[in-house]
């Protein structure tokens, strides 16, 4: 299989407020001109369906929400090697990404994963809008993603004018 270079994958439930931060984030990237070999994907709440996208990229940058003790909007970068390294996800999707990661590691096809997690509060209102704390963290998240991309040797497009 020919591996593409890099996938930027937003994960989360768009209907559940801050839980959808990963999806909100990649949607801001979708309209920019990325170099060939870079794919931007709104993964939504999918699990196994993302298998092909994960295994055909050598590097994957994921963005997801997490529940932890940090203040909402806190951004952390994790380099998970095994499913157990993933922080507690918001998703209730039992057959989700973690299982896919396990399965890919059993098949020896796990890409290099960088995971940006954004801390959110436990109880999420049903809403397609982000809270101000998480919305406010998006520029900083973009900065950190760009920084990582530069380290990986990817030419980052100038942010689209909104």
């Amino acid at each position: 299989m020919i591996k593409n270079e890099l996938l930027i994958l937003g994960i989360g439930n768009y209907l559940m407020g801050d839980e959808g931060v990963g999806v909100h984030f990649v949607r801001t990237l979708e309209h920019e001109r990325w170099p060939e070999g870079v794919k931007i994907l709104d993964g939504g709440t999918a699990g196994f369906q993302l298998m092909e996208d994960l295994e055909c990229h050598s590097t994957v940058i994921m963005v997801d929400a997490t529940l932890d003790d940090h203040p909402p909007g806190t951004i952390r970068l994790i380099e998970p090697r095994f499913a157990r390294d993933f922080p507690k996800a918001m998703s209730t999707h039992e057959i989700g990404l973690k299982d896919l990661v396990e399965a890919l590691s059993l098949l020896d096809r796990l890409p290099r994963i960088y995971l940006f997690v954004v801390s959110v509060e436990k109880i999420q209102p049903l809403s397609i809008e982000l809270s101000s704390a998480v919305e406010g963290a998006l520029p900083q998240l973009r900065g950190q993603v760009d920084h990582l991309l530069e380290q990986l040797g990817i030419v980052v497009p100038a942010p689209a004018v909104v």
């Binding site: 439930n13 768009y14 209907l15 559940m16 839980e19 709104d42 993964g43 939504g44 709440t45 999918a46 699990g47 196994f48 369906q49 993302l50 298998m51 092909e52 529940l67 095994f82 499913a83 157990r84 507690k88 996800a89 918001m90 998703s91 209730t92 999707h93 039992e94 057959i95 989700g96 973690k98 299982d99 396990e102 399965a103 590691s105 059993l106 098949l107 436990k122 109880i123 999420q124 049903l126 809403s127 397609i128």
Partner: protein, 572 residues
């Protein structure tokens, strides 16, 4: 004295389901099924443009995304009296069939198989014997001793690394596991092959839906255009890809899924007498070569069966005020008309009123309200929905295709027809309908191609897309048969906006709490009398609950409590 055991959450499902079961003399005497998260999707849709509803409902779940979008566009088309072109019907049917095959195979191998297949036992299998068994049940080429021996080595390495991962939540070594190590190894091999297979079949959704996950739907048709020589449209090359994927899917279902199902079932025939439950079955129907508006031609015929009387299938009317109603006597909601009222979904209300215990708690008060699922009833009856209901209604309606697959399976397993009303019957029915759907998918493909060849490339009817063509007030219902069972959305449109929107989803039928008369719904009823060998490892509960393919993500909603993948066992 009874023990009450709690499994919360039930693992290997979508969403969050809690089962409390009382165990007396080694059997379940009473079971209680609770959705412990709230769903308020109805509220997010109120006031929105009805043409956008499909995109919101498609986000509710990572598994059934297409079926919700499908029910939604149909509900709006019904309200606005929009007839979609034949190509759109065929494409929707092909996407539906794709979803089915994907869902049933993933359910069997990745969610349900581990209730029957002991992964750890597979390490002891003899690869040569495994190969002989595999070749005796199917012509599937990946069956050499070397293939199984390589796999076994890889699995051993995986298990020894302590990264049991996907396989971590099993009750390995439990006496209820009956398969010889060799059959377990075949199960593991096909677990992995199914994983490879599923990533191919979903490409059909990308072709017709523009993207995957969460493909695009459109009120009035489908959002893709046909152009045989057009690089950016559904062209000859893409259609050929779809054809190849559908053929591959059929091969996998016929040569891997069905033989495995029969082989595994033959070691668990006792489960043909366990987990039957209600004996009432409900199907809304779907999949017509002649269009959704012609129910007489549905390949999944609609109908209701009461008390296992398969020969007496009754008609179902989703519009009738007193046929389908939702009750909240044991659900954490309130109705303006009081807790005992039953509301047809067009008049449905979704107002949460949580009166349960403050977490963490040991037990729910099952005499009071104990779930965020409402309790749907058909003419007052608790009904099971899903593959078993569909297969029984098809059989009862006298359809030859159904008779053929059912009768040949019963005879291959040497079990009587009564064995269908069981956990095993439910799991077998899922495989049998996957076989039928795999066949129908190619029929729909041929119809699509024939229609295009006749010069018809219409994919959408946009005559009534603009709101100024709509009546001031309209209501509609859209139904389908989701992999898990009958699914319908009811919409009320006023002044171009959604005034009310109600989803009654399959897992609400099956997993709901008791009704006002204390009558159990499908899970609770099916669990009754199930033998439990070890209170601390209730794999038997998982078998029956998983046989329904629970999907609580859309039945309830969505924030995760601190997930503990353990069962609590308490002596009452």
């Amino acid at each position: 004295m009874a023990n009450r055991i709690v499994i919360d959450p039930i693992t290997r499902i979508e969403g969050h389901l809690r089962i409390e079961a009382e165990i007396k003399d080694g059997k379940i005497s009473e079971a209680y099924s609770a959705g412990t998260m709230v769903r308020m999707l109805e509220e997010i849709l109120r006031g929105r443009d009805p043409r956008d509803a499909w995109a919101f409902v498609g986000r509710v779940c990572g598994v059934c995304t297409t079926v919700h979008s499908l029910a939604s566009v149909r509900a709006v088309e019904d309200a606005l009296d929009i007839v979609i072109p034949p190509n759109a019907e065929h494409v929707r049917n092909i996407m539906f069939a794709t979803q089915y095959m994907h869902d049933h195979v993933v359910h069997f191998y990745h969610l349900h198989a581990l209730d029957w297949v002991d992964i750890v036992s597979a390490l002891k299998a003899d690869p040569k014997k495994t190969s002989e068994i595999a070749q005796s049940i199917s012509n599937w080429p990946k069956s050499s001793p070397g293939y199984f021996s390589d796999l076994q080595k890889r699995l051993t390495k995986f298990v020894e690394s302590g990264q049991l991962g996907i396989f971590a939540n099993g009750y390995w070594g439990h006496p209820a596991y009956k398969l010889p190590p060799e059959v377990n190894l075949i199960g593991v091999a096909h677990y992995l092959e199914a994983l490879e297979w599923q990533k191919e079949i979903v490409k059909v959704h990308t072709v017709f839906g523009g993207k995957n996950p969460h493909p695009n739907y459109l009120v009035g048709g489908m959002a893709c255009s046909i152009g045989i020589d057009d690089a950016s449209a559904i062209n000859a090359e893409r259609l050929q890809l779809v054809h190849r994927l559908l053929k591959q899917a059929k091969e996998f279902v016929e040569q891997v899924y069905i033989p495995d199902l029969i082989a595994i079932a033959s070691f668990y025939k006792d489960w043909g007498a366990i987990g039957g439950g209600l004996g009432n079955y409900l199907v809304y129907g779907d999949l017509s070569p002649n269009g959704y508006r012609d129910p007489s031609t549905y390949k999944f015929p609609a109908g209701a069966i009461l008390n296992k009387k398969v020969g007496e299938v009754m008609d179902v009317d989703l519009r009738e005020d007193n046929e389908i109603q939702e009750f909240i006597s044991h659900s954490w909601y309130e109705y303006a008309g009081g807790d005992d009222a039953g509301l047809h979904p067009w008049k449905g209300e979704t107002k949460v009123k949580y009166t349960g215990p403050k977490p963490p708690y040991d037990f729910l008060d099952v005499n009071d309200k104990y779930s965020f699922l409402k309790t749907p009833r058909w003419k007052g009856n608790a009904m099971e929905v899903g593959p078993l209901a569909r297969v029984l209604v098809g059989y009862g309606r006298g359809r030859e295709e159904y008779k053929e697959v059912v009768d040949s399976t019963l005879s291959a397993l040497d079990v009587p027809i009564e064995a269908l009303f069981s956990t095993l019957g439910r799991t077998a029915a899922r495989g049998l309908e996957a076989k039928l759907v795999a066949h129908w998918a190619l029929e729909f493909y041929d119809m699509l191609i024939a229609n295009i060849k006749n010069g018809d490339t219409r994919m959408a009817n946009m005559e009534r897309f603009k709101p100024d063509t709509w009546p001031k007030e309209a209501k509609g219902v859209g139904h389908t048969e989701a992999p898990r069972g009958a699914l319908a959305h009811w919409v009320v449109i006023q002044n171009e906006k959604i005034a009310n929107y109600q989803l009654v989803v399959p897992s609400t039928w099956n997993a709901s709490p008791r009704d006002k008369n204390g009558v159990s719904s499908a899970y609770e009823s099916a669990l009754k009398n199930t033998p439990i060998a070890d209170d601390h490892k209730p794999v038997e509960i998982l078998r029956t609950v998983h046989s329904f393919d629970p999907c609580l993500a859309c039945a309830v909603h969505l924030y995760d409590e601190e997930g503990k993948h353990i069962s609590q066992v308490k002596v009452l």
